[in-house]
């Protein structure tokens, strides 16, 4: 099977696999989609899918991996600023860009109970939040900042699926989300 998968570059096959998986997840749910169904839809053998991922859990984690890499990059970059306002602003703009830019891709995965369990088992979400508290918020003197940030991070994807905001363009969505984030965090403008 290594030979047949080797006919085209490994990266291209994996991208097509992710695309097919996301389309079937959206149609049948993550729980209701088997590796066999994905292979059938691509017109390849199940072995060709196994060449990339050993299980459905592996595949779902593979589809999510770029999101977690981006989260780390955004955190690292924002943490470099000296002032808290600048850190918060860079972090918020980065998160909005990530969510708006990948919305079609990740909407099907965010909130899915199967995916949530998988993320809790394989990604340190508590550690990620602790890094935000320590490295982005830093100064603990204003107790409302963590509350504001949790509300924003938990609620920021909802407008993208709720009219009327769901129906405006990505640029305007991005602008409105950033403005809402700045308001709730009490920061005035981008200081980056």
């Amino acid at each position: 099977m290594t030979q047949s998968a080797g006919v085209r570059p490994r990266g291209a096959g994996r991208a097509q696999l992710h695309e097919t998986a996301l389309r079937l997840f959206a149609r049948d749910g993550v729980e209701g989609t088997s590796l066999q169904a994905i292979a059938d839809d691509m017109g390849v053998t199940k072995a060709a899918v196994y060449y990339h991922y050993r299980s459905k859990d592996d595949l779902v984690l593979g589809v999510l991996a770029p999101l977690f890499t981006s989260l780390d990059v955004i955190l690292d970059r924002a943490a470099e600023h000296r002032s808290r306002a600048a850190r918060l602003d860079e972090f918020l703009v980065g998160m909005v860009d990530l969510i708006v830019g990948n919305h079609a891709r990740f909407a099907v995965l965010v909130g899915d109970p199967y995916v949530s369990r998988l993320m809790e088992d394989h990604h340190d979400l508590v550690g990620w939040w602790n890094r935000i508290v320590d490295e982005i918020i830093g100064d603990k003197s204003d107790p409302i900042i963590p509350t504001a940030l949790i509300i924003f991070l938990s609620g920021m994807t909802a407008p993208l699926t709720t009219p009327p905001v769901a129906d405006i363009g990505a640029d305007e969505q991005r602008e409105q989300l950033v403005e809402c984030g700045r308001r709730i965090l009490g920061i005035r403008r981008r200081s980056a």
Copy 2:
């Protein structure tokens, strides 16, 4: 069975049933809790549970009913104000009171996929959002208001389960949530 259930007042039996159901839902999940398990835990027959609810769906909807009644009351009361700022503020304070006051009771139900499906089938959530847009927001001239309100309503329960906010008292939680709501909606103080 009507006779045995009639030994104590109907209202009291129902309250105890709700309490037991919520405790078992929290322990075993809504999907993993049967009417039989609830009856066993209460030391009554399944028939005594059937006296109140014909199915688990009915029971879950019964447990949720006070929440939906409160939502309507909050909406009606807020809609009476003439100025948009006063409507938004009364609505936001009402929602925060409801969520903080019932958090222990409803945390187990909010976000549960079984409950979400049931709510979508039995409650007109889109109609509820449309009422908010028409009767609370009203004036459509500021397009950021619906975005801000969706973010707030979707994110407002998250701090109650995330440290450090989860660990502060209910009064301080209420105060912080209201302040965050006013910030993101751009309203200064309670005008009610």
